[in-house]
């Protein structure tokens, strides 16, 4: 399918398989050349242990904490938000004693979808870990980048504070359900080869309270969010081109996560879905049972990329329809990290019945400009 190509340079996008973004942003070749002796592979039959696994895993190449959700302010206008912190091991400078040695990078993305603004507002930052200015700590979720941070308190509540020049947010996210281990007890495959995998857990139905800043004006908000924490070393199948992913908090208390990895030939390289009902029963779907079908496309005026912003998803016998909160939820950061993707708030129907709200992510859709 698609590949982000900019001035002849291949660049992918991000999300649950975000290493893809970073790997290409931070060089594919270097990785291919180097033996991965210092970094650990993701292996099956590994049991996640908490709270340790809430924290950072420095032995793996890439790791992220990803939170999306729907918020409502006093006037009942919905807002979508996305917060992501990445930790990336450059695999360089491992024997450099300098405090500036760029061993690990911390990257953060912040995006706010506001139907009244008609487009996505976003901001990002990158720093090398060090000097207490940027870090991802082990033992519990504790990530910081200058004055942006995400911390998990001992009671399981997350605190997020991220403020940019024109907007920002300060949220408190309290868990209402148990952690959801994706794949096989947290071992989540991404492709046909067993090493193409990550460790992956989600926390659906986080209850959100806090403040959103718009033009430096604070607005009290509350809502519901979804958290993913994923870490891995291996990367995608060389045939992979991008992915479509959805995570949704359903109104009845269920939680749905589904993704497909698209190949360069347009076909499906891998797919997966998990649906947990309110009682905690999880139903897993294998690649053959998951099918993504575009319903409507939107052409970005910024990048000319064509995104299937309305999507039909079938998980075995269940039909899902995804409708975007607004079309322009493209995150274009070609000026900085170079990543371009669509990351948007969507509403879902389940077998034609309104079912809930979630976030859809579409990566790898930017085509080279035709000259």
């Amino acid at each position: 399918m698609k590949m982000i190509q900019k001035r002849g340079k291949f660049e992918y996008a991000k999300f649950m398989l975000t290493w893809l973004l970073l790997i290409t942003f931070l060089s594919m070749e270097t990785l291919a050349d180097e033996p991965m002796t210092r970094l650990r592979p993701v292996v099956p039959d590994h049991h996640l242990s908490f709270p340790h696994d809430y924290g950072a895993h420095q032995d793996f190449r890439i790791e992220w904490w990803y939170i999306t959700g729907w918020l409502e302010s006093g006037d009942n206008k919905p807002l979508g938000f996305q917060v992501t912190f990445f930790r990336y091991a450059t695999d360089q400078n491992h024997d450099n004693p300098s405090h500036f040695a760029a061993k690990y990078l911390i990257i953060a993305h912040l995006a706010l979808s506001d139907p009244s603004a008609g487009k996505l507002m976003h901001q990002e930052k990158t720093l090398r870990e060090g000097f207490g200015l940027a870090y991802a700590k082990q033992g519990n979720t504790d990530v910081k980048l200058d004055d942006w941070y995400l911390v998990r308190e001992d009671n399981g509540r997350y605190q997020v504070d991220m403020r940019a020049d024109e907007f920002g947010l300060q949220l408190s996210l309290a868990p209402t359900q148990a952690v959801l281990l994706q794949g096989d007890e947290g071992f989540s495959r991404k492709g046909p080869k067993p090493e193409q995998a990550s460790y992956y857990y989600s926390e659906p139905h986080l209850r959100v309270t806090g403040t959103v800043f718009r033009n430096n004006k604070p607005v009290a908000v509350n809502g519901s969010a979804w958290l993913d924490h994923e870490w891995s070393t291996a990367y995608l199948d060389s045939d992979a081109d991008g992915w479509d992913w959805v995570g949704a908090n359903l109104d009845d208390g269920s939680a749905l996560m589904a993704f497909q990895i698209r190949g360069k030939n347009g076909g499906k390289v891998w797919a997966y879905a998990a649906l947990r009902d309110p009682s905690g029963e999880v139903r897993f779907f294998n690649p053959d049972q998951v099918e993504f079908t575009p319903l409507r496309t939107w052409k970005s005026p910024h990048t000319e990329a064509v995104y299937p912003v309305a999507m039909h998803i079938r998980t075995d016998d269940i039909e899902w329809r995804l409708t975007p909160m607004l079309d322009d939820q493209e995150l274009d950061s070609r000026q900085s990290t170079g990543a371009v993707y669509w990351e948007g708030a969507v509403t879902l129907t389940k077998n034609q019945q309104p079912a809930g709200r979630g976030y859809l992510e579409l990566t790898g859709y930017v085509r080279p400009l035709a000259l």
Binding site: G8, K9, Q92, N93, H99, F100, A101, R128, F131
Partner: protein, 849 residues
């Protein structure tokens, strides 16, 4: 006939009749303007480029924090980054690194490498980011990569993916050229690495050179700067962009202004030529003007006519000069560099830009100089009573008026007074004014002096049989001193300036040579290419060197750059063993010294360079607080030494004091004395065999001396050129005024032929006149030049560059030039005379009556 066409007719007629003189005057003005303008253009371009390049390095930073020493601890970085008013703190490590295969002693042969944190730099100075190959973004963070500006790649003859070897202390470091920079100024030699990689590879762990700050919007810069400066204390400097510009400006100001002054002096010489050309033209045209007056032209009209002529001459000459100057500047930048032989602006390639204001300024100066030169003769021409002027033989009444001695004496007195005044804004303004007054006064006194001298000579020689020709020569020189003086004006001005410059440069050169002998007493000097603030030799290596066979004595030096004043360039701190009993054995001291016996116990002595006295007010006997190691310590200034190497200041302290205060045992240089019987070559071979031998930079003191003098000569190459130009203008002037005078004296020669003198005798008379005049002119020029050289040596140099020197006169050279001038003046007079006596005897006499 309208007055305009009359004016045109007069001008064109006069110029057509005396093309040669007009051309000489024109060339004199043009060359003067061209020199001044080209020097201005080159200097401005070099300076602007250098400061733009420095600014380019700091991007859009609001402020900079630097240490008092060149490098400071990195712990300041997180502290600054966490200040709530700070939007971005951008840490930087800057090193000038020696490159394998390039001469590493000279600073302009080093490669400037900036260590940046790309994520911070992207927000303040995105131009500095490296441009890696496709898909190799991680090269920006790698520890073996370097990014080079196009100019640096060209200079080093490398391309992307090539290897580059540089020195890091005693080791060689191989880096991969990973690409170019996002944007570099044309000609700017610059390299960029990751800051972490650089700290590690160049052994600068924990050190930064500066931190650039971008403040949050709305923060009051002034208040923030004041608060930060107070919180950081005296070990750090907080500067804004304007402060840094001032620093760059201070670095080269004295050099630039002195060069400009020199160029103006060339122009000033041109003014005398204009004066003599115009004055002679007035004399020649006396009857013409008188006739015009009789025919009804008013005084004012005549004055206007003369001034118009001057304006035409000045405008034409200045325009010619501007184009010539522009051309010279462009060529100089193209084929040399912006340094004019000095090294104030390393690593930049300036471009010449046409600046209309400067062009107008120099045009104006050229015009003014011409007008000044033509206004006195014009006034005279207008003042003359036509009835008188119509009669022949009253020519030299024209300029007799100038001979009043008072203005000249006032000028000389003023010159004397000005030599006593202090500099203005650290510039020897009064020194230059004194030189100008001396020149004007000297030249104005010329007629009186000529008359006195030759009447004295006539009186003395009267008793002897001296022959008709000699008698005539003496009579002429005695009785028409003003005309004689006019011819001399040019010689005097140019020769005296040349003498002054020659004496100054010679004194400087001899002083430096002498000084080099004093500061380089050892046989060999061993250094490692320094990187950053660390001395290259650690204790074990020092012992290795000292342990070599055949070495009698090793002196170790530690040098460091310090900022004592944020608006001034760094000073140099030398720590070395200094002979406590007689520091004169180690240092080239001036006489201002405290005897070592009279020092109280336990005080630490410090010897300061002359610049420290002028710039920082250090006095002998004074107790000063000086930063060594981490904090300030009290030293007593016990002596002042001459330093021709560092015009921004340097201090020397005992190495033992330094090591005790700072705990730093590393050193930069080892001075080595060999035992008798040990050859320098064997010693060098032995040192090369040490395991760090290949990184050593070993120089024989003789080579260093030769190199220093070569650099000296290179820096003064421009002044040699200017001198030569001044002499050529002077000689042109001699030629022009002689031919004008001889032509004007055609009647006289006709008369002489009629009373029986042969052509040969007339020619001999002219040659003798020319020779005698030039002899007098050069003698006076020497006296004047010698006085000017005293001003240059004892006022201009100490005030501009803060160094003093001893006076040396290059006798043989000056004699040779004087002889050359004598011969060429006599020859010129002869040639002009041949034309005047070429057979039109009858007509010449007829013309008059």
């Amino acid at each position: 006939m309208t007055s305009a066409s009359l004016s045109r007719w007069l001008l064109v007629g006069e110029w057509r009749a005396h093309v040669a003189q007009v051309l000489v005057a024109l060339i004199a003005i043009a060359i003067g303007v061209a020199m001044a303008y080209s020097i201005h253009l080159i200097n401005t371009a070099a300076f602007n480029e250098f400061s733009a390049a420095s600014k380019h390095l700091s991007g859009q930073a609001d402020m900079q924090v630097r240490g008092r020493k060149a490098y400071f601890d990195e712990s300041l970085y997180p502290w600054l980054a966490n200040q709530k008013d700070v939007a971005v703190a951008n840490p930087m490590l800057e090193l000038d690194v020696a490159v394998v295969g390039k001469q590493s002693i000279r600073s302009d042969q080093k490669l400037k490498i900036l260590g940046i944190d790309m994520f911070r730099a992207a927000q303040i100075s995105p131009d500095l980011l490296g441009l890696p190959a496709q898909g190799k973004t991680l090269d920006r963070l790698a520890s073996d990569t370097i990014f080079l500006s196009p100019a640096a790649m060209e200079w080093l003859q490398v391309q992307q993916d090539d290897e580059l070897q540089v020195y890091a202390g005693l080791h060689t470091l191989t880096l991969r050229v990973a690409g170019g920079l996002v944007r570099a100024r044309a000609g700017q030699r610059l390299a960029v690495m990751d800051i972490g990689a650089m700290q590690w590879r160049f052994e600068q762990l924990g050190l930064l050179s500066r931190i650039e700050l971008k403040l949050q919007p709305g923060v009051n810069h002034h208040a923030f700067k004041a608060r930060l400066a107070e919180e950081l204390g005296s070990s750090y400097w907080v500067t804004e962009a304007a402060d840094q510009e001032l620093r760059v400006e201070n670095m080269s100001r004295a050099y630039r202004i002195n060069l400009n002054m020199l160029a103006l002096v060339a122009l000033f010489t041109g003014a005398f030529l204009v004066f003599s050309a115009q004055a002679l033209s007035v004399i020649r045209r006396r009857q013409q003007f008188a006739l015009l007056r009789v025919l009804g032209v008013t005084r004012v009209q005549l004055l206007r006519q003369m001034i118009t002529e001057g304006i035409f001459l000045g405008a034409l000459g200045s325009l010619l000069g501007l184009s010539l100057g522009y051309l010279i500047a462009v060529m100089a930048i193209q084929f040399l560099d912006g340094n004019l032989g000095s090294s104030f602006f390393p690593g930049v390639k300036p471009g010449i830009f046409f600046d209309p204001i400067a062009a107008m300024l120099f045009f104006g100066i050229g015009l003014c100089v011409t007008l000044i030169g033509s206004i006195v003769p014009a006034m005279e021409a207008a003042r003359t009573r036509p009835a008188l002027a119509l009669r022949a033989g009253s020519e030299h009444a024209v300029i007799e008026k100038l001979a009043s001695p008072w203005p000249a004496l006032i000028c000389l007195g003023g010159a004397l007074l000005f030599t006593q005044l202090p500099p203005i804004l650290e510039l020897p303004v009064f020194g230059y004014l004194a030189i100008m007054l001396l020149l004007i006064g000297g030249i104005a006194l010329m007629p009186r002096f000529t008359a006195g001298f030759f009447s004295f000579l006539t009186a003395r020689l009267h008793r002897y049989q001296i022959g008709a020709v000699s008698a005539l020569v003496l009579a002429r020189l005695t009785n028409a001193p003003s005309q004689a003086a006019m011819a001399l004006g040019g010689i005097l001005a140019s020769f005296s300036l040349m003498v002054a410059m020659a004496i100054m440069v010679m004194s400087f050169r001899v002083s430096i040579d002498h000084w080099l002998g004093q500061v380089l007493p050892a046989d060999l000097y061993v250094r490692v290419a320094t990187t950053g603030d660390q001395g290259g030799f650690q204790v074990t290596q020092q012992q290795d060197i000292a342990g070599l066979a055949g070495i009698e004595r090793v002196d170790l030096f530690r040098t460091q750059q310090l900022i004592l004043d944020a608006s001034r360039p760094e000073i140099t701190l030398f720590a070395r063993p200094i002979d406590g009993n007689d520091p004169r054995n180690t240092l080239p001291l001036t006489d201002d010294v405290i005897a070592s016996g009279s020092l109280p116990e336990g005080v630490m002595p410090m010897w300061v360079s002359e610049a420290m006295v002028d710039l920082y007010g250090y006095r002998v006997g004074e107790r000063v607080q000086f930063p060594v190691g981490a904090s300030f310590h009290e030293f007593v200034v016990v002596g002042i030494w001459r330093d021709y190497g560092r015009q921004f200041g340097a201090v020397q302290i005992q190495l033992a004091d330094y090591q005790r205060l700072s705990g730093d045992l590393s050193i930069n240089t080892a001075a080595i004395w060999l035992r008798h019987g040990m050859t320098v070559d064997t010693a060098i071979e032995d040192m090369r065999r040490l395991d760090f031998g290949s990184a050593l930079e070993i120089s024989r003191s003789s080579d260093m001396r030769a190199l220093s003098l070569k650099i000296f000569d290179r820096s003064f190459a421009v002044t040699y050129v200017l001198e030569t130009v001044a002499v050529i203008i002077g000689l042109l002037g001699v030629g022009a005024s002689f031919s004008a005078q001889t032509l004007a004296r055609a009647k006289e020669f006709g008369m002489l032929r009629h009373v029986g003198m042969t052509r040969r005798q007339i020619l001999a008379m002219l040659a003798a006149e020319g020779g005698l005049l030039t002899a007098l002119g050069t003698t006076l020029g020497f006296v004047l030049g010698w006085s000017i050289s005293l001003i240059l040596i004892f006022i201009v140099n100490p005030q501009s560059f803060h160094w003093t020197m001893q006076l040396y006169v290059p006798w043989s050279w000056l004699l040779a030039v004087a002889l050359l001038m004598l011969i060429s003046a006599a020859l010129t007079a002869l040639m002009a005379g041949r034309q005047a006596v070429s057979g039109q005897v009858i007509r010449a006499v007829k013309e008059d009556w």
